[in-house]
C-alpha cells in the first residue's frame, strides 16, 4: 500500500510539474497580446449562459449529428469520470475508499460505467470517422487534411487507455472486495467476471497496477493535452466565454489599439492599425489560435478551400498558432542581448513577416489572405467560437493601410468610392436612372423642398449603388418600388444624396475610407430623420443595421424580403398569377448567416402560386457563398475553380427555371455562372437568375407580361 501511494504521488508531482511549466509558458505567451476591446468582459450572465449551452450543451458540435454525439459522449465522459479520478486517488491512501455521501450509491456506479461504455463507443465513432474521412483517402476534401493526424490518433489512444485501465482496476477491486459499489457498475462487473479465474493474488496485483496505470495514463494525458492541439479541453470554455456574442458575424469591429478604438481624426502615435505581427493580436486572438482543435469543420465549409484556393480557415489559424509558439522566445526575451543569444531558428522566426509570400518566409501568404470572401461559414461552424473573419480582416487592414499591399485590381473600386461615391465610378447623378419607366413617380427626398422625411413616408428606400446602377439590380429596385407602391407603402429615396455604405472598403481593410463614407451617410440619414429603412442589397443591409450604430446611426433596417414577406402575410400583397416554375433560392451570406434572415425569402416564394421551391444541398446556415463577399467582387479570381461556377452548378443541380437570390452581388455572380454554363451547353437556355421580388411581382401584376428576353 505504501509503495503504491509513493509511486502514485511521485507520478502526480512529475506530471503536474511538467504541465505547470507548460501552462506558465502559454500564459506568458497569451500576455504578449494586446488588450481586448471593452465589450469582451461585460455581460457576465449571457456569457455564462453561452458557456452552459456551447460547452455543457455542445450545441454547435451537435449540429453534425454523428460526430457531435460522439463528442458529447466523450465530453460528458470526462466530466462524470472525474469521479473515478477522485476514487483512484482515494484508493491510494485507503484501500476501501469511497466518495463521501454518494460514493456507494448505485446510480453513481451505474453512471460511471455507463460513461465508460459511452466513451468507448465515442472513440469507436471517432476512429471510424477518421478512417473514413482520412486525408490519404479523400485528399484535400477531407476536413482533416492538414491537421496533425498522429497527435489526434495518440489522443484517441490515450483516452482508450484511460478507459481500459479503469475497467481493469474496477474489475479487480470487485474481486478483492474493495469496490465502492455493490450494484450498478455493470461494465466493471463484467470485467470482474473475466478477471475472477486468475485468483485472489493476481487480482490484488491487478488492482494496484490498474489504479497506478489508470492514474498514470490520466497524468500522461494531462501533459499531452497542454502540449498539443488538445488544449481545447481547458481553453474552449474560456474562448467561448470571451467570444463575440451572439456570434462573430454581422458587424466588423472598428480598429482597436491597446483596447481603445482608433480615432482616425486624431490617431495616437503608437496606435497599431490592424495586425502586422503576431504580437499585434489581442490575447483573445492568441486564445483563439491556442484553442483550435484542428477538427476542420470550418475547412469543410470554406468556399475558398472548396474551390482549390490556398485558404483554409483551419490552416490559417494553425499557422498563426505555430508562429506564435515559435516566435514566443524571441518576444519574451527581455533584452537585445538575450534576443541575440537565442538559437538561429528562433531569431529567424522573429524576423518572419506576418503576411508575405511563403517562399520569402511569410507566415500567411497573400494569396491566402486575399482569398477570403468573409462569408462566415467558418465562424458559423466553429464549435469553439474562433473568430476567423475578424482576424483575416485585421490582417488585411494592416496590409492595406500601412503596407499598401493588396490586389492592385481592387484599387479601381477604392478610387471610384473615394471620388465618385460608388464602386463603378458613375457618380451620384446616375443614381436616379433606375426610376425611369416606372408607371408612377418615385418620391425623391429634397425634390419637394422638404428638410426632413415627411410624416406620411413610412420607409426610406436605400437603393444602394448596385440597385441604382447595375442593370439586373435596377430591375430589382423597380420591382420593389412597384410592390411597395402596390401595397400602399409610402417610401422615399435619397437619390443623389446616397453614397456607397462602404462595405467593400471595410472588408478589403480600407477602414479609413469606410469610416469616411459611413460618417457621411450617417450624417445624411440623421439629417433627414430616417427611422425605418428598407434595403435590397444584403451588404448595405448589414452595414446599415449592424455597423452604422458604431457611428451614431441607429435605424430600424429591414431587408426588402422581410418587408415583402410581411406585406404578403398581412394580405397587402396578393400573389395570384400561377407562375408554374421550378425555383431554387440562394442564401446571400450577408443576409442569411450574418443576419439570420433565412425564412422571409422562402415565405415569399412559398406564397406564390405555382412556385416549386427546391433547396440546394447547401442552404441556410450552411449556404455556399457566391464568391463576391469580402470585396472579392472587386478582385480577380485566378486560383483554383470559380466559386460562382461551383455554386451555379449546385443551383443547376436542382433543375430550376429560376435561380433566385436576394442580393445584387449574388445575382451578378450567379448570372455570370449561368451564362458560362449556358455557353458550355451545360445549362438550359431558358434558366434565369433573378431576385425574389421579381418573381413576386410577376405573380401580382394584373396582366403578366412574358419575361422579356435578355
Amino acid at each position: 500500500m505504501l509503495v503504491r501511494l509513493i509511486i502514485g504521488l511521485a507520478m502526480t508531482a512529475v506530471a503536474f510539474g511538467l504541465a505547470a511549466r507548460r501552462v506558465l509558458t502559454l500564459y506568458r505567451i497569451g500576455r504578449l497580446g494586446q488588450p481586448v476591446e471593452p465589450g469582451r468582459t461585460r455581460d457576465v450572465v449571457p456569457r455564462a449562459k453561452a458557456v452552459l449551452i456551447e460547452v455543457f450543451g455542445q450545441r454547435k458540435l451537435l449540429k453534425w449529428t454523428g460526430a457531435g454525439a460522439a463528442h458529447f459522449a466523450v465530453f460528458w465522459g470526462f466530466v462524470i469520470l472525474g469521479a473515478t479520478i477522485v476514487e483512484g486517488y482515494g484508493a491510494l491512501f485507503q484501500r476501501n475508499f469511497h466518495i463521501p455521501l454518494i460514493g456507494t450509491d448505485t446510480w453513481l456506479g451505474f453512471l460511471e460505467d455507463l460513461f465508460i461504455v459511452a466513451v468507448l463507443c465515442g472513440l469507436a465513432a471517432f476512429a471510424a470517422i477518421r478512417l473514413r474521412q482520412s486525408p490519404s483517402r479523400e485528399g484535400r476534401s477531407s476536413r482533416f487534411s492538414g491537421s496533425h493526424l498522429g497527435a489526434a490518433w495518440l489522443v484517441l489512444f490515450m483516452i482508450f487507455n484511460v478507459m481500459w485501465t479503469l475497467l481493469l482496476y474496477r474489475g479487480a477491486q470487485i474481486n478483492t472486495g474493495y469496490f465502492p459499489y455493490k450494484h450498478g457498475a455493470f461494465a466493471s462487473e463484467i470485467a470482474a467476471k473475466i478477471l475472477h479465474p486468475l485468483g485472489h493474488t493476481a487480482n490484488d496485483v491487478l488492482e494496484t497496477v490498474g489504479i497506478l496505470g489508470s492514474l498514470g495514463v490520466v497524468l500522461a494525458f494531462l501533459v499531452l493535452v497542454v502540449n498539443s492541439k488538445h488544449l481545447h479541453i481547458f481553453l474552449a470554455p474560456f474562448n467561448i466565454a470571451f467570444s463575440r456574442r451572439p456570434r462573430a458575424l454581422g458587424a466588423l469591429l472598428p480598429i482597436y489599439s491597446e483596447g481603445k478604438e482608433v480615432d482616425f481624426e486624431d490617431p495616437g502615435e503608437d496606435d497599431k492599425i490592424g495586425r502586422g505581427a503576431i504580437e499585434d493580436f489581442t490575447w483573445k486572438g492568441l486564445l483563439d489560435f491556442a484553442t483550435c482543435t484542428e477538427c476542420g469543420r470550418c475547412q469543410s465549409q470554406c468556399p475558398a478551400w472548396n474551390t482549390e484556393k490556398p485558404l483554409s480557415p483551419k490552416l490559417l489559424i494553425m499557422s498563426l498558432r505555430d508562429h506564435a509558439l515559435a516566435k514566443a522566445p524571441y518576444l519574451l526575451a527581455d533584452s537585445d542581448e538575450a534576443r541575440a543569444a537565442l538559437p538561429e531558428a528562433v531569431r529567424a522566426e522573429g524576423e518572419r513577416p506576418l503576411v508575405g509570400p511563403i517562399g520569402e518566409g511569410g507566415v500567411i501568404d497573400p494569396d491566402v489572405l486575399w482569398s477570403c470572401v468573409t462569408c462566415g461559414a467558418c465562424v458559423e461552424q466553429c464549435p469553439v467560437d474562433i473568430e476567423h473573419v475578424d482576424h483575416i480582416v485585421d490582417m488585411r487592414r494592416y496590409q492595406v493601410m500601412i503596407e499598401s499591399e493588396f490586389p492592385h485590381e481592387a484599387q479601381g473600386m477604392l478610387r471610384n468610392l473615394e471620388r465618385k461615391g460608388d464602386p463603378w465610378g458613375r457618380g451620384n447623378k446616375a443614381r436616379l436612372e433606375w426610376t425611369q419607366g416606372l408607371p408612377f413617380e418615385v418620391r425623391v427626398f429634397g425634390e419637394g423642398g422638404e428638410e426632413t422625411l415627411p410624416a406620411d413616408v413610412e420607409y426610406l428606400f436605400w437603393v444602394g449603388c448596385a440597385g441604382s446602377l447595375d442593370d439586373n439590380a435596377k430591375k430589382t429596385s423597380r420591382s420593389v418600388a412597384e410592390l411597395l407602391h402596390e401595397a400602399g407603402v409610402e417610401f422615399m429615396i435619397l437619390g443623389s444624396g446616397e453614397t456607397c455604405t462602404g462595405d467593400a472598403a471595410r472588408r478589403l481593410g480600407q477602414e479609413l475610407l469606410f469610416q469616411e463614407l459611413a460618417k457621411q451617410n450617417v450624417e445624411t440619414l440623421n439629417e433627414v430623420g430616417a427611422r425605418k429603412i428598407v434595403v435590397t442589397c444584403a451588404h448595405c443591409f448589414n452595414t446599415l443595421s449592424n455597423e452604422y450604430p458604431q457611428f451614431g446611426g441607429n435605424y430600424e433596417v429591414v431587408h426588402h424580403t422581410e418587408l415583402l414577406a410581411k406585406l404578403v402575410a398581412e394580405g397587402e400583397l396578393r400573389p395570384v398569377n400561377d407562375l408554374d416554375v421550378a425555383v431554387t433560392y440562394h442564401d446571400p451570406c450577408y443576409l442569411g448567416r450574418h443576419n439570420r434572415v433565412f425564412s422571409p425569402p422562402r415565405e415569399i416564394l412559398g406564397a406564390i402560386p405555382g412556385v416549386r421551391l427546391t433547396e440546394m444541398p447547401r442552404n441556410k446556415e450552411r449556404s455556399f457563398c457566391c464568391g463576391a463577399g469580402g470585396a472579392r467582387m472587386w478582385m480577380e479570381e485566378t486560383i483554383g475553380t470559380r466559386i460562382n461556377e461551383t455554386r451555379t452548378d449546385e443551383a443547376l443541380g436542382t433543375e430550376p427555371d429560376l435561380v433566385t437570390a436576394a442580393c445584387p452581388y449574388c445575382i451578378v455572380m450567379l448570372t455570370d455562372g449561368v451564362n458560362t454554363r449556358k455557353q458550355e451547353g451545360k445549362a438550359p437556355e431558358d434558366v434565369r437568375v433573378t431576385d425574389v421580388s421579381e418573381v413576386l411581382l410577376r405573380s401580382i401584376r394584373k396582366n403578366p407580361e412574358p419575361p422579356t428576353p435578355e
Binding site: 486624431d266 463603378w424 442593370d471
Partner: protein, 275 residues
Amino acid sequence: MFPPMPLADPVLVLADQADDDDVTTPTQATRELLMLARRIGTPVLVRFPVEQAADALIGIAERTHLRAILITADGHGEMISAHVSVRLESPIITDVTDLSIDHGCLITVQESAHGTDHITSEVHSAPAVITMCPRPRRRALVLAEADVVVAGGRGVGSAEGFSLLARLANELGGCLGCTHTAGELGWAPRHACISLPGAQIKPRLYVAGGVSGSLRHRAAVRRARTVVAIDSDPNAPILREADFGIVGDLHQVLPAVLDELAQRISPNSPDSVEA
C-alpha cells in the same frame, strides 16, 4: 488624407503638381509618396503652387525639425528640390525608389540600369531632400496604357470573330481587349479583360464591337476619350455611352471599316509610293 496630429519625425510630402483641381484626393503618385513617408516618420502632406513651393518648404524646414522632404521626381519637382536643398544646405538624394529606417538612420535606395543595380545610401543629417520615383508598376498592363483599344464582347459570337477585331487593332496600332464575358468564354485571353476588376483603360480611341456595355465594363472604360461602339441591339447601354454609335452587325461593319482604312493608309496614287 492625414489629419493634424502630434508630430514625431515629420516628413513633408509635397503634393504632386499634376494633382487635378480635385484638392481633396491626392493623386496616385502623391499617395505612394505618403505611404513611403509613413515608413520613415509621420507624413505631412503639403500643397503649394509651383512658384511658391520652394519658399514655403524652406519656411517650414526652418521652423520645424523635419526628417525629410519628399518631392515627386518630375520637372517641377527637380527644380523645387534643388532650390530647397541649396538654400537649407541640406543633402539631396534624387530619383529614389525606396525608403526605410534602420536603427534610426534613414536609408534610401536608388535604381540604375533599368533596375538591375541598386544603390543604398545612409543619410545622417536632416532634413534630407529626396526626389522620389516610386518603383514602376509591372509592365504587364500594356492594355491599360494603350492609346488605341479595340475590344469585343459576347456579341462577337466566336473566337473567330475576334480575328476581325484583332485586324482592326493592328491597323490602328492599338491593343486588343475583351469584355469579362468574352474572356470567360475563352474568345480572348483572360488578361485582355477590360472590366472592373480587370484592366482599366484610358485610350484616346476606344472601339467596342459586340459589347453591350455592362456596368463593370463601362466602369473600366470611363476614362476613354473617344468611344466608338458597334452593336446590333439599339438599346445596348454602350451606345448611350459612345461618341459614335453604330447599330449593326459588326461582321458587316468591320470589314467595311477595314477596307476604308486600307484605302486611306495606302491609297493607290503612285506618288505616295517611294521609289
